[in-house]
């Protein structure tokens, strides 16, 4: 399995996973949230490019279509933050924030569920529903009673408001967002996987590049490497050399102090979402170009999970760690012929030895 051809493929996969993984890790670094909707942003990137190509009536080039795809995903990423996560971060009375978010989420989810006949395919929904349904039947009267009695005794405020679990709320919201985006994509583009039309793919993508190596490297593979390297370099410069980068680092260290120093925390967070989403969009387009199609509403799930594994493997919150993790996961994928268990096995093994991941910093005492 350790052939030069597989190495070429593994490097391409690794570069793509790294591009997705930095999105997970940057958001986690600042707001300590695993943004499970990130895989869906990646999926929307591929669809965005497909849309641009379709609108360009075949004369559009996939490589140009990357730009509108990035813009679309940056916008979607920021909207996800504004509509779903921002209300949870604001200091609304917590009970209100919790219930508004959950109710809105469930309401929208139920509508989509009804519209599409549960097309999400992510969970084995019916089995889960049966199990959950029965346990809820048992719990519902208890909860209602507790809430009804509790309100009179001021218990509602205390039981819901006192407890700290904003992060959990945000996590559940993220899973909901992921389902909503998947279902939306299915409503818009249908369930069938699609491919970029051949007219939109420049010739050189599938042509071997004369690099003088004993192994064939295709144009698209070289393109993936160069793009990923350039974007990683750009990201590094942005984070380490610019004002916005400094603001991001400040927010990652301590949001409240950063705010006191005049950093607009919400704007920095929105920027982080936009940045990560745009990078995921590039990965989505390049992945669809690499494998020759497979653009579907479910395409974000497994790459999203693998990139998440990569981010954790590298030490979540650390951008260089995510890059390293992405390349490693890509290697495992490339050399094992794409078995998922192998990638997660490697992640577990690494975490057993290094619980914070490869480059993870020791957790500060602020937890």
């Amino acid at each position: 399995m350790f052939t030069a051809e597989n190495l070429v493929n593994a490097l391409s996969l690794g570069a793509l996973y790294a591009l997705i993984a930095v999105g997970y890790t940057m958001v986690y670094g600042i707001i300590k949230l695993i943004n499970f909707a990130h895989g869906e942003i990646y999926m929307l990137g591929a669809f965005g490019a497909l849309l641009a190509v379709d609108l360009g009536h075949g004369s559009a080039n996939v490589l140009l279509a990357v730009v509108p795809a990035m813009l679309l995903c940056a916008a979607v990423g920021m909207s996800v933050d504004w509509t779903a996560y921002l209300p949870l971060r604001r200091r609304l009375p917590r009970a209100d924030a919790l219930s508004i978010a959950l109710l809105a989420l469930l309401g929208v989810g139920a509508i989509f569920y009804k519209l599409t006949g549960d097309s999400t395919h992510r969970w084995h929904a019916p089995a889960a529903h049966t199990a959950i349904g029965w346990s809820v039947l048992a719990l519902v009267p208890v909860v209602i009673l507790a809430l009804a009695l509790g309100e009179k005794a001021g218990l509602l405020g205390r039981s819901l408001g006192r407890v700290h679990s904003e992060r959990l709320n945000a996590l559940i919201t993220a899973i909901g967002m992921s389902l909503i985006l998947q279902t939306l994509a299915q409503l818009v583009w249908g369930a069938e996987p699609r491919a970029f039309p051949e007219a939109a793919l420049p010739e050189f993508l599938s042509a071997p590049v004369p690099l003088g190596l004993p192994v064939t490297v295709l144009g698209k593979e070289l393109l993936i490497w160069v793009t990923a390297l350039a974007m990683m370099l750009g990201l590094h410069l942005l984070v380490s050399r610019t004002r916005m980068g400094m603001a991001m680092r400040a927010c990652a260290m301590d949001q409240e102090t950063a705010a006191l120093m005049g950093v607009s925390v919400d704007r920095v967070i929105a920027f982080t979402f936009a940045l990560g989403s745009a990078m995921a969009a590039v990965a989505g387009v390049l992945y669809a170009v690499k494998v020759g199609g497979g653009i579907s509403y479910r395409m974000g799930y497994y790459p999203g999970l693998l990139a998440f594994a990569a981010a954790v493997l590298g030490g979540i919150g650390n951008i260089r760690g995510a890059t390293l993790g992405g390349v490693l996961i890509g290697m495992v994928q490339g050399f094992t012929g794409g078995t998922f268990s192998a990638a997660f096995l490697v992640m577990i093994l690494v975490l057993l030895v290094l619980p914070r991941g490869l480059l993870g910093e020791p957790q500060a005492s602020r937890a």
Partner: protein, 406 residues
């Protein structure tokens, strides 16, 4: 310490709310997409309701669409002609569509729902072998016919008195494809890429068995996971490294399209590409584009100019008129299965057991049902041996007949 304790109740509350929401969804929605609605209230004695179960969404949705459209066509044709005559009364026909998403869990769930709905007389479906197998027990336990227009796995009808199909089994299909490689294509080194589910594995095994008898060498046998495997380069690379002269794909059209593109465009392989009948969908050609040219697929029937009798011609015309789309093999088989089921109901009445007995009595060409895809009749298990394995080749972006074995 105090903090971590305090987290607990909130976590519980959150989960309960989420669970309540999920359960509410479950209660409100018709579940697996019963497009025809569940309103058993509207069901009167003047309607014959038939369940049509298949992958309406998910990675085999192109099949589901054809199945649904063919059933709706038959439904309309019959109703426009005044319905079917049962016991001297004219009854309207209703095709109730259920979505199994090509997924075993969903299929079992659909089966439970369908078999407990007394107004449904018979099931056309499921399509994917793996779904038919998952649903089989429920139908046989309750006693309602499961009549598949697409499942080819060997075990689909075995041991179940209520299971039927109107096409060949995979042991026959695999055998014919292997012999085709040896005799017509005259190849020796074959790589098999197979979907790791009941259909793909079964077809791979029967192909491999016959291939060794015919003197072929299986140089690589590579499994993949439908929907999960997206990057086929390492898998096709294995076939290339092994020096394969031909690639046989035992799987469905989406993955086959990716495999074809990878082999032709990325690895510049000029070898033969042959797909099992799961690849037989126009979507294969749409997705693989130019790379699909010259690829061959097996099929129980080919909807094509000049193939089939006048029934086939009429079917193609009316399908195009109603759905503005060319029908494919599976539409034709569904149309026939639906027609055969209605014919059985006209003779046997509305009793589920009587319908089953009537279908099972079609044991030879004379007692069989003559439809678009030829004559359908069964053996004691409900398997059908009257359909050939036909080979089609992609030419100028369409399936046309290739050289045949006979």
């Amino acid at each position: 310490m105090r903090r971590s304790k305090a987290r607990h109740p909130k976590l519980l509350v959150a989960f309960v709310l989420l669970a309540a929401g999920l359960a509410a969804c479950d209660g409100k929605s018709p579940g697996a997409g019963g497009a025809g609605g569940d309103g058993s209230a509207e069901q009167g004695p003047d309607v014959v309701r038939i369940a049509v179960c298949g992958p309406m969404t998910g990675s085999a949705a192109a099949f589901g669409e054809m199945i649904k459209n063919a059933a709706k066509l038959k439904e309309r044709e019959v109703n426009d002609a005044g319905g079917i005559t049962v016991g001297g009364r004219k009854l309207r026909v209703e095709a109730v569509v259920f979505d199994d998403k090509g997924d075993t869990t969903e299929a079992a769930n659909v089966a439970r729902k369908v078999s407990s709905d007394d107004s449904l007389r018979l099931v056309i479906g499921h399509f994917n072998s793996t779904c038919s197998l998952a649903a089989k027990d429920a139908y046989n336990r309750v006693g309602i016919v499961e009549f598949s227009p697409g499942s080819t796995n060997v075990d689909v009808c075995r041991g179940g008195p209520f299971t039927f199909r109107n096409l060949y089994r995979d042991d026959f299909q695999g055998q014919q494809i292997a012999t085709y490689h040896a005799r017509i294509l005259k190849l020796t080194r074959i790589a098999v890429l197979y979907d790791n589910d009941d259909y793909g594995k079964g077809l791979m095994q029967s192909f491999t068995q016959q291939a060794t008898k015919d003197g072929l060498r299986i140089v690589a046998s590579v499994p993949y996971l439908r929907e999960r495997t997206q990057d086929f380069k390492p898998l096709v690379q294995q076939a290339k490294d092994a020096g394969a002269e031909g690639i046989f794909v035992a799987g469905l059209y989406n993955e086959a399209a990716l495999i074809t593109k990878t082999a032709r465009n990325d690895l510049q392989m000029t070898c033969s590409i042959f797909g099992g009948d799961g690849v037989m969908s126009p979507t294969y050609i749409t997705n693989a584009g130019k790379a699909a040219e010259g690829a061959r697929v097996a099929t129980p029937f080919l909807v094509h100019e000049g193939s089939g009798g006048p029934e086939a011609k009429a079917f193609v015309e009316s399908f195009k008129a109603m759905h503005k789309k060319e029908p494919d093999t599976w539409a034709a088989l569904t149309y026939d299965a639906f027609g055969m089921a209605l014919a059985a109901i006209e003779k046997a009445g509305l009793d589920r057991q009587a319908i089953r007995d009537q279908l099972a009595s079609a044991r030879d060409e004379a007692s069989g049902y003559r439809g678009v895809t030829g004559v359908t009749y069964f053996d004691a298990e409900g398997d059908c041996y009257s359909k050939p394995v036909f080979v089609a080749i992609v030419k100028d972006g369409a399936f046309v007949p290739a050289e045949q074995l006979q």
